[in-house]
Structure formats: C-alpha cells, structure tokens
C-alpha cells in the first residue's frame, strides 16, 4: 500500500535542497552565468555551516545549554559566508577575468567537494568518533523545530507543518525570486543582462554589478540547500560524500522549470519524490531492481530536456547570452 502521508513529507525534505539549489542557479543563469560550480558551492555551504556549529556546540560541555538563537544564526551566517566566497571566486574568474564558465564551474565543483570532504574528514578526526561522521544533534534539533500543531493536526500537520524553518524559507525565497524577476525594475534589468548584455549595457545597466550580485546571491541561496541537507534532512550528521549528486540535479531542475523559480517549488518536490520513490515501490527480495528505480530522476530530466528542446516558444528558451562572457569593446 502506497503511504502518501509518509511519502509527501519525505519527498519535500528531499526536494528542499534541490529547491535552494535550483532557485540559486535560476537567478544566476538569468544574469547569463551558467554556474556548473553549484554542486561545489552546496558542499561548501554545508561544511561552513557544520564548522560554525561544531565550534559553537563544542564550546559547551553540555550542548543543551546553547543559546538557541546563536546556535541557529552561527551556522547560517557561516554557510552564507562560505557560499558567498565561492560566488565571488566564480564571478572574479568569469566576469572580471572572462574565463570559460564551464571549466571554471567544474573546477569549483572539484574544489568545493574537496573542501567539504577535507574539513568534514578533519572534524571527524577531531571528534575521534568510531563512525566516519559528525553528529550535531543539538543544533539539528533547533533547525528541525517544526511549526506548532504539526503533531496535533493529523495528516494535515504531517504534510504541511512538519518541516524546519529552512524549508519554508526555501519556498519564500523562490516566491520572492519569482516576484523580483517578473515584477520589478531590478528583475527587468537582470533579465536584460542575461538576454542581451550589449543592449543592457547601452541602456546604462552596470553589467558587472548585476552579474556579481546575482551570482553571489545565487550561490548563497544554493549554499543554504547544503545547510538544510545536513542540519535538517540528515539530522545534523555530516558524512563525506553523503550529499551526492544533488547539486547536478538542481542544475537540471533549472531547465525542467524553464527558468521559473515558482515552478521550481512543485518541481523540486516532484524530483525529491522521484529520488526516494524506490523506497516505496515494493520489489520484494530483488534489491537490484531498486538501483534501477534510482535512475528515475535522471531519466525524467533527460525526457524533459528533450521535450523542452522540441518546444520552440521564444519565452521558454534559455537566456540568450547564457555561458558567454561579455566584453564591451568586442567587435
């Protein structure tokens, strides 16, 4: 029997990191930057948060003594700072130095994943734990604090109220991003930068500033996805490589949603569901088949990719200058 009430919250929990990642990547791509470094950024975001909270949690003999506000704020700020630095690095290379975006992105992913695993591994060593992971259960408990009534309202509470604040923040950020992109002057300018930087430039828009700010913001949002994964989804347990390929899925989601953050909300949850659906499909003793079910999110992405390339509507195409560096005096 398919248990929808337990499936949906898990799908959402899986989907939230993707939502953060794809919202971040959408606004980045709207500025014309194709940031393939997002997987690395999410690792850096996660580990920065972990380091911050590790330091704070371990400064107390008894972690329950922690100041709740600080315990949440410290990892949050560390995470944002870490991802911001990654964003600045990407911008410096691709915008200021006009480097190839694909190669820069891949290098950032190598770097970011290495960074995450190195510091993760070092912290694990510091704790001297038997298992190769760090548990920050006290901090995680704060991140996982659900809305009131979550337990008392039955299935409604489980499906809508049972998440930590970062999950709601993800949805709010996606909605705000959609609003800014489509309904404000800043959004208009940003879209112009991604579509046709020469025109935007001639209109007096500071291309460099827009690219820097949106790409850095995008990285910070994506970094939160990493933080959510560790602190909420994984119960504050960091283990190396656990975050896996979610960063790439987030990039794939951008195409799936045809560059609309608001579409990304249901789409991320759908992908989250696909990610774990193998747990819900009865396969009996045949464990091998489960591995095939895990292909689903990728296969669906490919199918969507193909379909979106068949559609020819102008508004549904990627930003026209995506992936290209801009140099005003090119001729």
């Amino acid at each position: 029997m398919f248990d929808l009430v337990s499936f949906i919250p898990r799908a959402v929990a899986q989907g939230i990191p993707l939502l953060f990642g794809s919202t971040g990547e959408i606004i980045t791509e709207k500025s014309g930057n194709l940031n393939l470094g997002i997987p690395g950024v999410m690792y850096v975001g996660a580990i920065s948060g972990v380091i911050g909270s590790f330091m704070y949690e371990h400064s107390f003999a008894d972690p329950t003594q922690m100041n709740a506000v600080l315990a949440v704020l410290i990892p949050l700020v560390c995470c944002l700072l870490g991802s911001l630095l990654m964003g600045l690095l990407y911008c410096f290379l691709t915008v200021t130095l006009r480097a190839n975006q694909n190669v820069t992105g891949l290098a950032m992913t190598t770097f970011g994943v290495g960074f995450g695993n190195f510091f993760g591994g070092s912290l694990i060593k510091l704790t001297g734990a038997e298992v190769p992971s760090i548990a920050l259960s006290a901090t995680s408990r704060l991140f996982r604090t659900t809305l009131p009534f979550a337990d008392s309202t039955g299935w409604f509470g489980k499906v809508f109220l049972s998440f930590g604040f970062l999950a709601y923040l993800a949805i709010i950020i996606a909605l705000v991003a959609a609003f800014v992109l489509n309904r404000t002057r800043v959004g208009l300018h940003l879209r112009a930068v991604g579509e046709d930087p020469a025109t935007a430039d001639a209109a007096g828009i500071d291309i460099t500033r827009y690219k820097y700010i949106t790409t850095c913001l995008g990285c910070m949002i994506a970094g939160l996805g990493g933080l959510y994964y560790v602190m909420d989804y994984a119960n504050g347990v960091w283990s190396n490589d656990a975050f896996g390929d979610r960063g790439w899925l987030a990039i794939a989601l951008v195409i799936f949603t045809i560059w609309h953050p608001e579409v990304s909300i249901p789409a991320s949850i759908l992908f989250g569901g696909l990610y774990i659906i193998y747990l819900y499909i009865p396969t009996g003793t045949n464990l091998a088949v489960k591995e095939l079910y895990k292909m689903l999110p990728y296969v669906v992405t490919i199918v969507v990719l193909v379909f979106s390339s068949l559609r020819n509507k102008r508004e549904n195409q990627p930003p026209e200058s995506l992936g290209l560096p801009y140099f005003r005096e090119d001729r």
Partner: protein, 359 residues
C-alpha cells in the same frame, strides 16, 4: 581609471611564461593555504607530494598508469570539444564501457579463450561507450538539445546501471561487491607486456595519443570537426552534413571513453564498481581545456593533475590528512591557470598615466 583592452596576438614564449608564472603563484598560494589549514610546513608537504608521485619505481608506474587512463579519457573528449560539443558524460561512458568489459569477463570468462575474449571485450566496451554518447548526440544534432546536461544526466543513469549489475553479480551475496573477477583463471585480464603490469595500458594510450593528433590535425574528418565547431553555418555552406559529423564524432568520443573503461576493468582493477571512473570524466574536461584541445599538450596537463592526485595520496598517509586535500590544491591551481588566460587575451590600461603598461 583602469581600463581593459584586447591584446594583439601575444608571442608564444610570453604566453607560456604567463602560464608558468600562474602555476608558480598557485603553488605558493597552495603552500600558504596548506600552512594555514593544517599547520604543516608547505615545503615538507610538497616534498611529500613529489615523493608520493615519483618516490619509488612502483609509484612511478602507478603514476604513469593513472596518467594513461586520464589521458585516454581526455583524448576521447577532445574531438567533441573541438566541435564545441560539451561532452560532460565521460564518466558514464567509461562506466558502461567498463560494465561491458566486466560482463564479458563474467559471462564468457570460462567459455572463450583469452585470444577471443579480449578482442570481444574491446569491441563491446567501445560499442557500449559509443552508444552512451550516441543518445545525446542524436538529440543535439536533430533538435539542438542541450548536450551539457544530457551527457551529465547520462552519467547517473550509467551509475545506477552499474549498481544494478553489481548487485546481480555480487560475490558473496549481500556484500554489495563483485570482487576480483576470474581471480584464478585471469580470463579477460589484459596481458602483461615484458613483465610490467601496466605497460600495455601505457603503450596503448601512447599510440592513441599520436593517432588522435594525426586524426585531428591532418585528416578530412578532423578538418570537418574544426569547421563544424568554429561555424556550423559555414560547414553547411560547403556541404558538410553537420548532423552526421556530430553523431560520428560523438560515437568516436564515446567509444574511446568505453575503451578507457576496458583499460580500467580489464587492465588494472579486474572488477567493477560504481566509482571506478573516479571523476576522470570531469577531470579530463579540465585536462583537455588546459591543453587547448591539443592531444600532445594534453600529456603535460594530465601529468600535472595526476601528479596532484598521486601526491595527495601520499600526504594523506604521511601527515594523516584527508585525501580530499589534493582536490582543494588541484582546485586552487586550476583557478590560477584559468584566471591567467585573461592576461594573455587582454591587457590593462591605466589611462591616467602616460603611455600604457602591460600587466
């Protein structure tokens, strides 16, 4: 007032000097970061890396073997990149190639003599890799489907496919591992040349490098690839069938990746896991790009990256550091090299001053 202008063509020695300077600067930066992050003396760390890479004949062999595999994957991606087709699916193409080789070893290992089995493994792994690249190529050629993401997703489909077969063939049941295939019979193991375990791999890749260089620089196919990459419209204008060139080139690209998978499974590991490609599909993108898609230069750029990774292995054991530290150092070096290209293409002009100054 700082102002950026495009440079005239920069002479090659100067361009090389800038790149070399970037690497030196990167090593210094890595040293500083090492000292801060680990508290170790960076000189010791570098010494350990050199020792780890070249310290003993065995280590040199491992280095050369790793170099061969990485170079092989880079060579595979190069024709696609020259055509401006961003094949990020090397990882998946290696995996299915390795899977095809492994399945031949497992299923036919006891039925065919090596003289038949090994050629069959060659063919099947090349075909599997080619098939994996064919799908995105067809869609790119026909509907201009974004190949970057298509090939990327194919990697994960391949990973799960391998995961599936690993469980099907796992020995013993429930271990989640296949273990060494045909340990006793060595059926399907690539032969050793002159008693050296890795020499055959290395020789094969060396030959491939030369062939690929000739193919790209002097053959009609290579010329078509360059024209399509530089300007698809010009290609159509002179009657080159762009779709056909895309599909043909990607078949080649995938087949060589599949071949790399064979080298890994048949030549070194004699088993298959989901992580056997070890990120080489991505590292190779950077190797190829650093070498400006020139097969001969790629020997140097892959040596740099393989050195980093072998060296990192050594520091992780010598200083008790995490192996991922090597990834961080590699990332930093890449950032410097990527960044230095700017100074080769552009120059900075300080307009307040009299005259111009190159930086």
């Amino acid at each position: 007032m700082i102002h950026i202008a495009k440079r005239k063509e920069m002479p090659l020695p100067q361009a090389l000097a800038i790149r070399l300077g970037a690497i030196v600067a990167a090593l210094v930066a890595c040293g500083v970061i090492t000292a801060i992050a680990t508290g170790l003396n960076p000189v010791d760390v570098y010494a350990a890396m050199v020792k780890g890479a070249f310290g003993t004949p065995r280590k040199v062999w491992i280095l050369l073997q790793e170099l061969a595999i990485l170079l092989c994957v880079s060579l595979a991606l190069t024709p696609a990149f020259r055509m401006r087709f961003w094949n990020l699916g090397g990882e998946g193409q290696i995996l299915v190639g390795g899977l095809a080789a492994a399945s031949c070893m497992i299923i036919l290992g006891n039925r065919l003599p090596n003289a038949l089995l090994i050629p069959l493994m060659f063919v099947s792994s090349a075909c599997a890799g080619a098939l994996w690249a064919l799908l995105p190529a067809l869609f790119k050629a026909r509907w201009n489907t974004n190949e970057t993401l298509f090939t990327l997703m194919m990697n994960y489909v391949a990973t799960q496919l391998v995961a599936f077969f690993v469980i099907v063939w796992e020995v013993p049941k429930g271990s989640g591992n296949i273990g060494i295939i045909n340990q006793s019979t060595e059926a399907g193991w690539l032969p050793q040349v002159g008693g050296y375990k890795y020499l055959l791999n290395i020789l094969l890749v060396a030959i491939l490098t030369v062939i690929m260089h000739i193919y790209l620089a002097y053959s009609k196919h290579g010329y078509e690839i360059s024209v399509v990459g530089e300007s698809p419209n010009t290609a159509r204008y002179v009657g080159i069938k762009v779709e056909k060139v895309i599909v043909r080139t990607l078949l080649l690209s995938g087949a060589i990746c599949g071949f790399a998978g064979l080298l890994l499974v048949g030549g070194t590991a004699h088993t298959i896991t989901t992580t056997i490609a070890g990120g080489r599909g991505f590292t190779a993108v950077m190797v190829a790009w650093l070498a400006k898609f020139n097969p001969i230069t790629m020997v140097a750029s892959s040596l740099l990256l393989v050195f980093m990774s072998c060296g990192a292995g050594e520091i992780s054991t010598a200083f008790g550091l995490n192996h991922s530290f090597g990834d961080i150092l590699t990332g930093i070096i890449l950032f410097f090299i990527i960044g230095c290209e700017f100074f080769i293409t552009y120059r900075i002009v300080f307009s307040k001053k009299e005259g111009e100054r190159d930086v």
